[in-house]
């Protein structure tokens, strides 16, 4: 940077720390995650299953008060391979960021895919969670290190779209 450029601006770092209040629905979910279990919540009106649950169904505007135990298996709804470093992000690229659709869930969440050559990853591929050692489990989906492929036939993702019955 030249001396000339230095004259007309100044670095002014700011920090933001916050204390996240999970709320009752997410607290129930995270307490199960701490035990290595994934428990979605379903809408009493349209029956859609949300994981992670955020406490209400955006379709119906009602509390998702029905607990739905899920497995840690599902499929890749879609994915990207991130090739550039993201400021503040500790994961070294390239990495695969995938929309994970667990069996029985009606929305997906983002997580990592590993254990396969990136060229072979495809939409609809079956995957399962690879968990960290039990003594490292906390109230976080980071208890899952990543999802890895399993030897099951691909899913037609068109069939995943939630339709109210």
């Amino acid at each position: 940077m030249s001396e000339e450029e230095k004259k007309d601006y100044a670095e002014s770092p700011i920090n933001l720390e916050y204390h996240y209040t999970a709320g009752s629905a997410t607290t129930r979910f995270l307490n199960q995650v701490k035990e290595g279990k994934i428990v979605g919540q379903s809408c009493p009106k349209c029956s859609a299953v949300y994981v992670p649950p955020r406490g209400s169904c955006p379709r119906c505007g009602v509390a998702t008060n029905i607990e739905v135990p899920l497995t840690d298996k599902g499929c890749i709804e879609s994915f990207t391979i991130v090739h550039i470093p993201i400021p503040g992000n500790p994961i070294v690229p390239p990495y695969v960021c995938a929309m994970i659709r667990l069996d029985g869930a009606n929305i997906s969440f983002l997580h990592l895919i590993q254990g396969i050559d990136v060229e072979e990853i495809r939409i609809g591929m079956r995957i399962q969670a690879v968990w960290k050692p039990k003594d490292e489990w906390t109230h976080s989906l980071e208890n899952i290190k990543w999802f890895a492929p399993i030897d099951e036939p691909d899913v037609d993702v068109a069939t995943l779209r939630f339709q109210e019955s």
Partner: protein, 382 residues
Amino acid sequence: MIQAGVIGVGQTKYDAKRRDVSMGGLVREAIDNAMLAANVEWDAIDAVILGKAPDMFEGVVMPELYLADAIGAVGKPVLRVHTAGSVGGSTGVIAATHVCSGQFKTVLTVTFEKQSESNATWALSPRYPYSPHINAGAGGYFAPFIREYIRRYDAPEHIGWKVAVKDRLNALKNPLAHLHIPGIDEKMVSDTPMLWEPLRYLESCPSSDGACAMVITSKDLVGSRDVAWIKGMAVRSEGTLSAGRDEVNPQAGIDCAKDIYDQAGITNPYKEIDCAEIYVPFSWYEPMWLENLGFCDLGDGWKLTDKDATAIDGEIPFNMSGGVMSSNPIGASGMIRFGEAALQVMGKANDHQVEDAKVAMGHAYGGAAQFFAMWIVSSSLD
């Protein structure tokens, strides 16, 4: 409802770093240009509506308060709008709604982003509580939807390159555009590094500093000025993490477009709209929005792009100014679309003017593709 029109559009020069001006200087540059174009003085302005994307993009919280003097809002009502990337569009709708309400005769609206003052990709990639830290900016979020679009409709990869080239060639006709890349072609685009597969560097929008302003007035005050009449306008949103949501073809986009077409009496947008400035921050969003906005059937968007229908001399020109792909001061990017649509029907788009444009569309989307803002402007009230 009062009929309203745009009588002045003002823009800054867009660039990676506008270090020659402060944030206040940047918005004022756009405002001065808009008021000059509109031929109005400060005493004619009844309210000022400011829009911008998240405050984290610069690190200045509630800039509408600090900017009140620079935007001429002292002693007048001031309102700040925020709907993520769609904010430039929704701010235009809010400003026009003020006029249409009859409570305000003439409203000044301005939107901006000064991305060089911080890092928007950092701001969009926080570590969420109880989740792995894998957020990778806007491109990282949208790339899986684009991949699904390509899979669903078996679209060939050169479509993305083609949009990237077309928008940058249009930008060469717009002296205000941030990116000017003479000689750009599909090979140049396809040779650039992959950022978020399947998106390459030149298939992505830049980070820009810039501002856009408009003066909107009621029919009785237009006088002999050039005017873009607002024939339809709407905003819509939808749940981000909602069961049944189709991120490739969001329902809120479909509904928002239908609303403005109904207001403007448009039944066939492909035939009745002369040109459109559509929010395309990543190349593949052109074919995706062609379909979402009803310009063609599902799966046919990439075919329209492929046969040059969206070129400046095509059947439905998209982003004659170079679009978001060529200039992206995020908070302003939607208003640039709205303002450029107005310039087209006023016949004031200079070298990127579509010949005889009478009806134009402006469009913006934002957030997780769940906020939409759109309008139709026309050269005549009939």
